[in-house]
């Protein structure tokens, strides 16, 4: 019961923030709401007993991605004044199609499909398992991820670098 | 002899390709050398194909024809597609025709073409390989490959060395043909899936779709579209006037002389043997299309003021005879109409094949003649001329021979083919054949009234032409004489050729299940 209430509060916070992210006129505020939403998601992970993921969520989404986004917003600040509409001319269509897609998804995913749910506790050594999985069966993705990060790092530096004279 | 049997077709087929590569290697400044190389190289297949003609006639024709000189090498084993070529009584004369017209065209072009010489001769030789390939292929994939190979050089010949509207015409030519050929490819694939092979001989034995007329018709029309566009039969003919008109002289000659035959050849080589039921079922449609082509083509000729366009439309009309002959044979094959004489079907088909050969010779000659005039006058407008008979007597004479051959004057080549077609068709589809005869009358009309009266008779426009028009030169005579000679020979003594074609027709009809009593 308590969990359900907590869940509802967190989800309300998360989804509400997400709503503000996509509707707020001011981009910087949008970004802040995004951070809030990320925190909400992290909290959901805690409810799901995925502590590691919750922390990683904060570390990567808030610490890296959101910071990058805010940074980018600051660097391109001339555009953030909000004088022009933040929405493009297909906003209405976007809204309609999103609503339709949402209804379809909810109907199918939540209502129609019966998921193979099992009631099992999370094993206490989940983090160890996760660690060994990353260097065991999933070692290839793990290694490729490192290559990807390196490539993205070099690529981002290369592209965003100041122009040479 | 074994060596000859095994290699002659392959050599004929790839010799022009080798020649074209040789031409490609030559520096483009050495135009004379390019011309010499091309002409002399093209003589080789001509000689070989003449030998082939004689050899086949002497050795195999008396002994019941059939496919000979065949070579089969596995090409795509997974698909059971092979490099399978061969020649029979139908293709041997056509191979000769191809070699002959190509050599003449090259010879003529050597004098006329002065612009981008290297490319011209390269493409022309490539084209020859494509045409040979179609006449020799006994495998559908191979057939398709050569079918398309012939397409590209012609596109360039029209597009680069053509007249004012060449770009439009070349594009139209290419796209029309492509529509048909892709449809044909799809139909080939359907055949493959039903019979498990691309080999034409095997397919003819297996008779795919013999019991399913719906699917057979579907496949039939796939192939039919490709062939009928090439022939071209009304209503698929609209590319032809443009292409013929805009093409350079030699291009028109080849286009009308041989490329159109590829379509008709396909009817005989693929549709009739492999899908006899569908061929018989839709024979009547072919008759109708043929007759419409004849009559429509002829009447449109009457309305032309452009000399070359007129000849082009006359091709539509004349290829209509081929369609009529084939269709009549098909109707006979279906058994719905029982002809008085079972030979009528073979006769109609003989006529169709003869017409293919003759039209090649005659229209080739006519296009050369038009080209010769155009070289001097730089206009193709009929009404601009008049009274040329006095000024260019030699030209007039040759033109008259070709023209009369075209309208089917007895004693010249054209007569026999028309005679055979109508003789056969009358027995099978009387009414339609009768309507078709209108076309013959109109043909006489446009040859005599439109061309002869306008161009050669009347008053010579001294003011405009003065001494700008002169009579035929040596090389032009040399180009035309062989054709004129053949017209006379075939007009007076067509028997050797008729023997060939009759053998082919009987063979094809028998295999297709036609009963000769």
């Amino acid at each position: 019961m308590v969990l359900k209430v907590v869940f509802l509060l967190i989800s309300l916070f998360t989804v509400g923030s997400a709503f503000m992210v996509v509707t707020h006129r001011n981009l910087f505020s949008s970004a802040l709401f995004l951070v809030a939403s990320f925190f909400g998601v992290a909290a959901l992970y805690v409810l799901l007993e995925a502590t590691f993921l919750a922390v990683a969520q904060v570390l990567i989404y808030v610490g890296a991605i959101a910071t990058l986004i805010v940074f980018a917003i600051m660097l391109t600040r001339g555009m953030m004044s909000g004088r022009t509409s933040p929405r493009n001319d297909q906003a209405v269509w976007a809204g309609l199609s999103s609503v339709v897609l949402g209804l379809v998804l909810l109907y199918v995913v939540v209502y129609r499909v019966r998921w193979p749910v099992v009631e099992k506790p999370v094993p206490p050594d989940t983090i160890e398992r996760l660690g060994s999985a990353l260097v065991g069966p999933y070692v290839i993705p793990f290694e490729i991820a490192s290559v990807l990060l390196l490539a993205a790092l070099i690529g981002a530096v290369l592209i965003a670098r100041e122009r040479e004279i | 002899m074994a060596f000859f049997d095994r290699w002659v077709l392959t050599i004929i087929l790839f010799w022009p390709l080798l020649a074209s590569i040789w031409v490609l290697m030559l520096p483009k400044e050495k135009e004379d050398q390019i011309r010499r190389v091309s002409i002399w190289m093209s003589v080789v297949p001509l000689v070989l194909s003449a030998l082939l003609f004689v050899d086949y006639g002497a050795r195999f024709l008396p002994r019941g024809g059939g496919i000979h000189y065949d070579v089969q090498v596995t090409w795509i084993p997974q698909l059971r597609a092979s490099y399978h070529i061969g020649a029979d009584a139908l293709s041997v004369p056509l191979i000769f025709l191809t070699a002959l017209l190509t050599t003449l065209s090259l010879y003529y072009s050597a004098r006329v073409i002065k612009h981008r010489v290297k490319e011209y001769f390269f493409l022309f030789l490539l084209l020859e390989t494509g045409m040979f390939g179609v006449f020799m292929a006994l495998d559908l994939v191979l057939f398709y490959v050569f079918w398309e190979v012939g397409l590209v050089p012609m596109f360039f010949l029209i597009g680069i060395w053509g007249h004012e509207n060449r770009m439009y015409a070349s594009l139209k030519f290419f796209l029309y043909t492509l529509v048909g050929s892709v449809a044909m490819l799809l139909a080939f694939l359907a055949l493959y899936f039903h019979a498990g092979t691309f080999d034409i001989v095997q397919l003819a034995e297996k008779r795919p779709f013999a019991d399913d007329i719906f699917k057979a018709s579907l496949v039939f029309f796939g192939i039919f579209l490709g062939l009928a566009i090439k022939v071209p039969s009304w209503p698929f003919h609209t590319w032809l006037p443009d292409a013929h008109t805009e093409a350079p002289t030699a291009g028109s000659v080849i286009l009308a002389g041989i490329l159109l035959k590829l379509g008709a050849y396909g009817f005989l080589r693929i549709l009739l043997p492999i899908l006899p039921t569908a061929f018989a079922y839709w024979g009547f449609l072919m008759v109708i299309l043929g007759v419409i082509s004849i009559v429509y083509g002829a009447f449109v000729c009457m309305a032309q003021t452009d000399l070359k366009r007129l000849i082009a439309y006359s091709s539509v009309s004349h290829m209509g005879y081929v369609m009529l002959g084939l269709g009549a044979a098909g109707v006979a094959l279906s058994g719905k109409v029982v002809p008085l004489s079972p030979d009528s079907a073979a006769l109609a088909m003989d006529g169709a094949m003869l017409q293919m050969f003759n039209h090649g010779i005659i229209t080739g000659a006519l296009f050369f003649l038009v080209g010769i005039l155009y070289e001097r006058a730089h206009t193709r407008d009929l009404t601009a001329f008049g009274g040329l008979s006095g000024k260019l007597p030699y030209y007039y004479g040759i033109f008259m021979v070709a023209g009369f051959a075209s309208l089917g004057l007895p004693g010249l080549a054209g007569f026999w083919s028309e005679f055979f077609v109508f003789r056969g068709a009358f027995d099978i589809v009387r009414v339609w054949a009768a309507i078709g005869v209108i076309g013959v009358v109109v043909t006489a009309g446009y040859i005599l009234w439109r061309i002869v009266a306008n161009v050669f008779l009347g008053e010579f426009n001294e003011e405009r032409w003065g001494d700008k028009l002169w009579d035929m030169e040596g090389y032009e005579k040399a180009t035309l004489w062989p054709l004129v000679l053949i017209m006379f020979i075939l007009g007076l003594y067509p028997t050797p050729l008729v023997n060939f074609f009759n053998q082919a027709a009987v063979e094809l009809l028998t295999k297709a299940g036609f009963m000769f009593h």
């Binding site: 379809v104 998804l105 199918v108 995913v109 129609r112 499909v113 019966r114 998921w115 193979p116 065991g136 069966p137 999933y138 070692v139 290839i140 993705p141 490729i144 991820a145 290559v147 990807l148 490539a151 993205a152 070099i154 690529g155 290369l158 592209i159 670098r161 122009r163 040479e164 | 596995t74 090409w75 795509i76 997974q78 698909l79 994939v141 398709y144 490959v145 398309e148 190979v149 590209v152 596109f155 360039f156 597009g159 680069i160 060449r166 770009m167 070349s170 594009l171 290419f174 796209l175 492509l178 529509v179 892709v182 449809a183 490819l185 799809l186 694939l189 359907a190 493959y192 899936f193 579907l218």
Partner: protein, 489 residues
Amino acid sequence: MFDTSTFIRLLPELILLVTALVVIFVDLYARRRTALGLLPGLSIVGLALSFLAVFAQWGTREVVAQTLAADTFAAFFKMVAAVAVILVVLASVRYMRARTRYVGEFYAFLLVATLAVYIAVSARDLITLYLGLETLSIVSYVLTGFLRDDKRSNEAAIKYFLYGAVASAIMLYGFSLLYGVTGTTDLQEIARRLLNGDVLVNMEWLAWPAIVLVTVGFAFKASLVPFHQWAPDAYEGAPTPVTMFLSTVSKATGFAVMARMFLVAMPALQSSWTALLYGLAVLTMTLGNLIALRQTSVKRMLAYSSIAHAGFILMGLVAVTTALGQPFNGLDGVLMYVVAYAFTNAGAFAVVAAVEDGTGGATLDHFAGLVGRAPFLAAAMLIFLLSLAGVPPLAGFAAKLFVFAPVVRQEYYVLAVVALINAVLAAGYYLKVVKQMFFVEEPERAPFAVARSMRWALWLMIIAVFGVGIFMNWFAFMASQGAAGMLGL
């Protein structure tokens, strides 16, 4: 679990990775002039070695490190990718040198992108598959926007990036549903659990959303309509060698993962995805061709044409039969098309790059009278265009044959007719370029020279285009082995 044999199986990937690192280090420490000469050579050597390593393992069919499949299907795509990237490197030597200082990074990125392709085509696990695709995408964004001071390059990269990010997010959502319903990320395992209907009730309700969502991601990579909007812009704006890469290797990868995903993981839902792909194929080729007809920039025209070709390739998947041993099963059509198309399209774009180098642009006007100015380029372009149009005996014909065939076999008449019309439409605009090059004469424009490496690349591609067309049997053999060897089937 990491024994020697695993390393040997991973040798092609390792070679690429090491080469990429070597390239970066050489670029860091060698003098600029030495590096410029050395780097493309190094990259090509690495790619060639990796190609050989793949080839040496042809015919294997086993699981490597649990998440990769070392099968002929993957090997086929890897070889195509390696060869195509070699050509890209050859075509980019002069092009990139003239436009950017970061040549070393460029080649390193190309190598990493190839590595990503290797991973993606052999992934047999949702996670690896996603990561492979995404690595390829991200590196491609960088490559597209590599000329960062060029507005067009940047714009192209941004459009590519935005579409790509969204598409991959949507695809991921589909993946997550698949994971939810089967509880596993292993493709074969997914297939097994999907077939065992007892896992869940109402699976058919999930089939459509999952398939549609998943397809979005693949369709984006393969630039299928309506997920193609990025493609023309990215192809036009990207450095032309990168366009070569995107339009051949990257696209092929999209098809490879699509085929593996659908055939290995979702055979139970075949009727659903076939229907979806059917529609996509029709849309893709028709729209691609119709829009291509209106283009005046050759680069953009080729971009739309490559969209249309994606529709043709898709026909192979639509009409796929699970009897992968037989010829014309559809999947071998995809493979054939990918090979033929890789050489042909890479060739066409390489010519565009050369023309850009020589004339400063790539509109139809820049191609006018090309035959007089760079006859070799004109001839090469002609061959590539004819191959694209499917004229025998060129590679494109072999490709067309192998994708038309399954459609005819399955008796999809509408699709066949649509394909026919499209083949003709496509020929229409290819001929437009031919017309410009050969029929129009521009005697007053000066001839220009072609870089030596570019000449090499073009010759290779011309030979390949003829080779695939004439020695179709050999490639068909490889393709059918590749198709039949897909692990899990």
